[in-house]
Symmetry: C2
Subunit: 183 residues, 2 copies
């Protein structure tokens, strides 16, 4: 293997991820073929799969990046900012339309999916605990129940936006606020 | 064409729908091939497509039936019963995992999807108006906003249940109740 700098490798890795993001967004995970991944990245399959062992690993690397970005947005700007972001019809939503069927068929994938970005998950849990302790978030339900509800709302918004029905950003924010308000 | 009774035709129609429901549930809409539809219905493609002009029409007939059943449950037993029903992991959820990608690609399909079962939609709207007028449902937001929110929650629950993560039935019911309560 020729010597390449860490910088060069990181540039290649980004080139692969961004090209594959476009291909998955356009054709879906199942629909995107290796020739399409080659066309969108401008690289050969040999080059692509020297960075990622499989198409699934490539896809999961993109998913983990997206979850990190959304989790960080949530921490820094609140859940309302995440709802607004989904309402802007981000291109990445198209990547996730095949995911429920993939998860349905694969228990190991469900485990991997739920273990992305442990640090951000931990920080969100601590944030929720602080909000409950400070009386800003209802504390008659467990954090698990509240977190799962917000996940349901986010998945439902992604379905509506992904289906090109659009979403009611301000109405959703108001209703989520009421759902979570201390009693 | 041989003379067949209306009863016979209805029996055949049900046989086709139930067989195709199994095939779509197992393989997805895209994944289900015509030979699989034949195997599950026990009928030839000629017989199947003399009742439904296309695979898409078949699928939409199933979707309209399911929406009618859920809408009727909602009217007769309330939204909480619908949440409980999704929590029982109904087999029909597997049919809908491909729908967002189908809708995303096809504006005409989005229009058809939103015009199923107009009578049930109209009855649900009247019910909501009554609940608002009677002070049982918040009236500081429009019916459209409330209805779209419940649709988002239902889609999100279907994603979670369809992905085999399960859902928190009681927690969701409590949070939806708080979201909709009069201020």
């Amino acid at each position: 293997m020729p010597k390449v700098s860490a910088e060069h490798r990181e540039g290649r890795r980004r080139q692969i991820l961004e090209g594959c993001r476009r291909a998955f967004g356009r054709y879906g995970y199942e629909g995107a073929t290796v020739p399409q991944l080659e066309a969108e990245t401008g690289l050969s399959r040999g080059a692509i799969f020297s960075y990622f062992p499989s198409k699934l690993d490539l896809f999961l690397a993109l998913a983990e990046e997206d979850q990190l970005r959304i989790g960080t947005m949530w921490l820094e700007q609140g859940f309302e900012a995440v709802i607004r972001h989904v309402g802007e019809d981000p291109e990445w939503i198209g990547l996730y339309l095949d995911v429920p069927r993939m998860l349905r068929a694969d228990e190991e994938l469900r485990t991997r999916w739920n273990s992305f970005n442990p640090e951000v998950r931990e920080r969100l849990t601590r944030r929720f605990e602080e909000l409950q302790a400070g009386g800003e978030l209802r504390n008659d339900l467990t954090l698990n129940t509240l977190g799962r509800f917000l996940g349901v709302v986010l998945d439902g918004l992604a379905v509506q936006q992904g289906s090109r029905f659009g979403i009611d950003v301000d109405g959703t924010i108001e209703l989520v606020r009421s759902a979570l308000a201390p009693k």
